[in-house]
């Protein structure tokens, strides 16, 4: 049960991060490829939220109950990245975010995917770093406490 809750929490956390970064990336993408004065429909927001939800649903591939080797983790990370690419490019094609005939737009789309992916990974790493700092502090306190007890 705890494991399921943990997964749901991780997916939701990932979803919020993706939505935030995709909105930022979309603003840049739209400005570059569709112009600053481009008018967008309200449904783009629902599209962003829908696609972000689909992408975050891929998160469990990175979470395993089994202990994974570094190689397997890397392999899963690659599969995850590919899945995100397929989801975003297919959605982009369906929602006409880019023209298939315009290679610059496709490259721009791919760069946007990479930027968001790297951004999400960076946030996750920063959060882990903060956890590590917190644990290091607690370890230090614990070891000092033990020294005091020994003395």
């Amino acid at each position: 049960m705890n494991n399921i809750l943990e997964k749901i929490r991780a997916i939701f956390q990932m979803y919020l991060q993706i939505v935030a970064l995709v909105i930022l990336a979309s603003a840049i993408y739209i400005t570059v490829f569709w112009g600053y004065d481009c008018e967008v429909d309200g449904d783009i927001l629902w599209q962003i939220m829908g696609v972000s939800a689909l992408c975050s649903l891929c998160t469990p591939i990175l979470m395993s109950q089994k202990e994974l080797s570094k190689r397997t983790m890397l392999f899963r990370e690659m599969i995850h990245f590919l899945m995100i690419n397929v989801i975003v490019l297919f959605s982009g094609f369906c929602f006409e975010w880019f023209y298939v005939s315009d290679w610059k737009m496709i490259v721009g789309m791919e760069l946007t995917i990479v930027a968001v992916y790297v951004g999400v990974c960076t946030i996750a790493y920063r959060m882990s770093q903060r956890t590590a700092e917190e644990m290091n502090q607690k370890l230090k306190e614990r070891q000092e406490e033990m020294k005091d007890t020994e003395n």
């Binding site: 202990e67 882990s128 590590a132």
Partner: protein
């Protein structure tokens, strides 16, 4: 195995007599623990037995069905299984950090994030041990986070 406890005659010294065909591993463990008490670990190296305080061990690792205890610079073999050690070792100081590793929390110098939600523990002897994602929450709980 039959266990018989007899009352001492006045003036008689306490004594343990073991009646057996041969000393097997189980019996050896029992004898070691009687000889040394429960606080020390019976570790093996080059055919010799060493009785060592658990706190001198940095981590235990299971490799190819064998369990090894890593001290500051030395490596010993342990006859117990990892799950048995987990029960024997002081719970305050030791925790399972991966499927094949038990780590001494007092020997961790620092922790850093590693790939895939894992953490890497840099030990005071300079060695690095991975803490699996599954055990990170256990570690947090142990540290009161």
């Amino acid at each position: 195995m039959k266990v018989t406890i007899l009352d001492l005659e006045p003036g008689e010294e306490e004594e343990i007599i073991v009646k057996c065909d041969k000393i097997n591993d189980n019996l050896q463990k029992i004898l070691n623990s009687i000889k040394q008490g429960n606080d020390k670990l019976n570790l093996y190296k080059n055919g010799d037995i060493y009785f060592i305080e658990p706190d001198a061990i940095y981590y235990f690792e299971s490799v190819d069905q064998k369990v090894f205890a890593y001290g500051k610079t030395e490596v010993y073999e342990v006859k117990s299984k990892l799950y048995e050690l987990e029960e024997e070792l002081p719970a305050r100081d030791f925790m399972r950090s991966a499927k094949s590793t038990i780590l001494n929390l007092n020997k961790i110098k620092s922790l850093t994030p590693a790939f895939g939600g894992r953490f890497e523990a840099l030990l005071k002897n300079g060695e690095k041990v991975i803490i699996s994602r599954q055990y990170v929450n256990v570690l947090k709980e142990r540290l009161g986070i």
